[in-house]
């Protein structure tokens, strides 16, 4: 393993090799979540918990549409967001999913649903006006090319697998929590009463035996697709073009670009609106981006300080 500037930021085509795996390593595996065909059934959430023995997340009626698990966290590794919004524009015929609402709140990125409670309006419009839209999206750990959680883990509990995914080893994690603020998506989380950090493993144990991760296996509409990342990216691009051809201009990919702030996500998405609508950061950047330059600056500063010290020492001799 050689530590290069690319290890921290920018395009990195072979993340496993960068992590030290030899040429024989398997291809990088990933998720492509096509939210345009998500029906919000939450089978992914349940299947994930069943397989990975993740505890329930408490029984709380949130009032945020049909989203009661509310966010990705230590106890919810797949999370289906329900974005329910009034829409005043009429639905163009055959246009597929509804166009973006005007005046979407572009607030700070949060995990979960930005607009839980529907706005009350007078509903003076006649029936069948497409008065509401309901976007559903199954969120998950992005398994970043440049994973802040991994880079900042002091114990080595977080590691890069041979499949290019990022996994916590619970028997090594000491619960320091450094990983939590390191994630630009707010995914990894410390479990209350347990103290250790938990998140999606992309079912590492299943991948080891050539099985599909549970969420993708359970998804009835193939909204969650699992496969080789390069192949998934091609498939996703084709799907976006297909939707554009059908007049769904709002369709776009999120996290598919290897040049983005995290070097591209291992789990990326097709969205029907701006990422903020789904509670996703519009321009995520790995928190260790500047680590290299920080070290350079630190190094330069150290050299400068040393020189200054030497100079003053030498100067003192005069």
């Amino acid at each position: 393993m050689t530590f290069t500037p690319e290890s921290l930021f920018g395009r990195l085509d072979d993340v496993q090799a960068d992590a030290g795996y030899d040429d024989e390593h398997p291809p990088r595996m990933g998720f492509f979540t096509d939210t345009s065909i998500c029906i919000g059934c939450k089978a992914c959430e349940v299947a994930c918990k069943e397989w990975n023995m993740v505890p329930d997340d408490g029984f709380v009626l949130s009032g945020m549409s049909y989203d009661n698990t509310q966010s990705l966290n230590a106890n919810t590794w797949r999370h289906v967001a329900f974005i329910e919004q009034p829409v005043d524009v009429p639905v163009p015929e055959g246009s597929g999913p509804r166009p973006a609402a005007a005046g979407t709140d572009l607030g700070m990125p949060t995990v979960g649903v930005p607009q839980g409670l529907p706005q009350i309006n007078d509903q003076e419009a006649p029936s069948g006006d497409g008065g509401v839209r309901w976007l559903m999206s199954s969120d998950v750990c992005k398994h970043c090319t440049h994973a802040g959680c991994l880079d900042n883990c002091p114990t080595g509990a977080l590691f890069r697998t041979e499949f290019g995914t990022v996994v916590v080893q619970p028997d090594i994690c000491n619960g320091c929590g450094y990983c939590v603020p390191s994630c630009p998506y707010g995914v990894i989380d410390v479990r209350e009463g347990d103290g250790r950090a938990w998140k999606c493993t992309m079912c590492y144990d299943r991948l080891k035996v050539d099985e599909t991760p549970m969420c993708a296996k359970a998804c009835p509409t193939q909204s969650i697709q699992f496969g080789e990342l390069t192949e998934l990216r091609e498939r996703a691009q084709a799907r976006v073009e297909e939707l554009h051809d059908q007049g769904v201009e709002v369709a776009r990919l999120y996290g598919a670009d290897p040049e983005d702030g995290v070097g591209g996500d291992g789990a990326f998405f097709l969205l029907l609106d701006e990422p903020e609508v789904y509670g996703l950061p519009p321009d995520p950047v790995v928190t260790t981006r500047d680590l290299g330059s920080i070290w350079k600056h630190v190094g330069a500063a150290a050299v400068g300080l040393a020189a200054l010290g030497a100079a003053s020492f030498l100067g003192g001799r005069r």
């Binding site: 029906i39 349940v46 009032g63 049909y66 409670l117 309006n121 509903q123 309901w134 509409t221």
Partner: protein, 884 residues
Amino acid sequence: MAEAHPVGFQWVVEAKKRGAQVIHVDPRFTRTSALADFHVPIRAGSDIVFLGALINHVVSNDLDFRDYVVVYTNAAAIIDERYQDTEDLGGLFSGFDPETGHYDPATWQYAPRPGSDDVPGGEPESEADSGVTGAEARQSHETAVSDTHGSGGPPVPHKPARDETLQHPSCVFQILKRHFARYTPEMVEEVCGVSPEQFRKVADALVANSGRERTAAFCYAVGWTQHSTGAQMIRTASILQLLLGNIGRPGGGIMALRGHASIQGASDVPTLFNLLPGYLPMPHAGLHHDLDSFLAGQEGKAGFWGNVRTYAVSLLKAWWGDAATAENDFCWDYLPRMTGDHSTYTTVKAMIEGDCKGYFLVGQNPAVGSANGKMQRMGLANLDWLVVRDMQMIESATFWKDGPEIETGELETEKIGTEVFVMPAASHVEKSGSFTQTQRMLQWRDKAVAPPGDAMSDLEFYYLLGLKIREKLAGSTDEMDRPLLDLTWDYPLDDEGEIDAAAVLREMNGVGPDGQALSSYTQLKADGSTRCGVWIYCGVYADEVNQSRRRKPHWEQDQIAAEWGWVWPANRRVLYNRASAAPDGTPWSERKKLVWWDAEAGRWTGKDVPDFIADRAPDYVPPEGAKGPDAIAGTDPFIMQTDGKAWLFVSSGLADGPLPTHFEPAESPFHNPLYPQQSNPVSTWVAEETNPLNPNYSDVFPYVYTTYRLTEHHTAGAMSRTLPYLTELQPEPFCEVSPRLAAERGLIHGDWVTIVTARTAIEARVLVTERLRSLRVGDRWVEQVGLPYHWGPNGLVPGDSPNDLVGITMDPNVYIQDKVGTCDIRPGRRPRGPALVTYVEDYRRRAGLGTAHVPGRVNGTEVDEPVDPAVDKDGVHEPEGGEA
């Protein structure tokens, strides 16, 4: 469909990816709506108006698929000139008897062919001719006989006179046209709350996607079935699909999304009181003295139902084996007989009245899942014994200690004599067996793990119960015990010592004289040489192979995927697929070809198994007097119907009329704008103290409620709200209302609200959401309260059951209840304990329930004047089982 059938919905998503347009008509905006091209919010219970207007649109503008309609449906049939329509009689058809609340369908019959010796419809061919008219019709309707034609239509006495120009004023097409003339887009707006623009969009999409080159499909669920006009709602869609030529063709049809895994199987095999396996009707004590009188009127008619004797005898042979002989009428007398309506809600009433003493609940939780929970629990509390087979301790097993009536004091634990036996059940992964889904497809499951503890499969339970009973009866000389002692109960056991489920499937399939599995129901004989437990399943064990266990992936097969599972009948994937070809036997279009006539080979061929007599040429005309399959013409695709045609107009078999007609739900805030007749005149109301109805047009109950499901829970909740991973997804009972209703009643998102009907009041959290639309109906708004019904007092997150609010008024054909009614909704929690009873009483008093609207028919007995069962002479409700 995405909401309640997410797994099936994957194929809708797949179709959409390939360019199909998806339209969703539903009172609420669901997960289906979110994926649909467009959603049409509609007032619950107004579907016949919406669909009827589509029919009107098609027939008034000559948009029907005329070549299909003339030859394949009974559009050309001429009806008895005495027939009078709802147009003539203010919402009633001819033949209505206000005394009994029943129809006599004599005037709905086909007119005889000129020059034939057919008898006019009023005179059946023989005395026992299938209950077409008069007293027999009444008895038939009491026993829901129209529900017993699942694999074919009821027999008609003769083929009709026809006018293929469709111009004769008494031909079905013209009657239909007149009948639906008042179902206009304006009427749709007034009744359904759907704008003419929105209606037009649906109509255009439907018409554009029908015809030679294209087909359209309908999917429905309990949104249609659970209404007092439910069967007719589905009929309306059937008529529309037939007019558009969308039946029997690939990509067409009407798909019933069943309420539960294998509900289709539960009608096929069946668990219904009025059916024997394969839709043979259950015999009636007053009508069917022997096999001959049972089969008279069915046997020998045109079509495959004409072979009914072979099905019935083979069934009796499957059940009683060597004991069934020609001399003893194949043990015909061993079969139980009906004496009237023994449907579920009538049986609950019989429990309350002490006539029903014992009850089995098998995977069913009526205290939560059935309408009028209080009535259910009052019934259960009055039994001698109750057997509950379930995976969880459900409310129907614990009502005696923690039911809502214990809290209010209407029931007292010490005074309940019901002995409850809870028998733990195996889950679907803990047993092998088959599911039959809505496409009539049997799919086999293998057992994955053994059930825990004492839990066992239903099959094993009943097998052992049968052994025990027979052990107790061994040596009995009482004739009454012969049916049990003579049963074929000699099933092989599997490696673990349990009854082998595959052997039961093989018994359903049937065996020939050589003891080998049969491959087709056409092999069945009436002489007792064949045995077959379910004639429509004959072939599922062909070649001694469990065909339902085939799992060849669809990507290794053609589009029909004939090697996945097995579909009755005869592994046909599309029923009546002769209709996918034109009358001359050529496909309607290359794009939609499915089966066609191969003139060279002299056979029907194609991608699917042809649903027709294999070598019957398209130009075959049956000779006069032909019987059974011989009477099917080469252009008669509907081979189970006794005239070979699909029925736009139904001469026999329906309790509430030959054509669908809109009536308001039994509880409605609106007058019926179509007819003076407000609600279904033959709908059935269960007359019981616990089942009062809200008056129509009441200011006290001004809102419409409709119950429904959520993806996250399963029916009455025993399998979901007991599990943390499902409970957390929808952790509390809630209702859904529009922002407008919230403002009107001061309901705050996330807070508690109380919902009230004449039955009871419940509390829930409220979600104020645009997904529930305020609808403009006529000159007023209608507000609908959405009630997911999954909760009850047990489970991880207890709560009130919305089904406690629902009254029992039923479709007269199938005895399924309304899921729609009226209610009030108020902010805050409901009163506790006895105060709840007073609270609801007050509502009833304010609603003036003394003049409650009561549908015409009450459990088959006449109603002289309006009855208010909830209020006694002094106007004070006397809670049953309370302090005397």
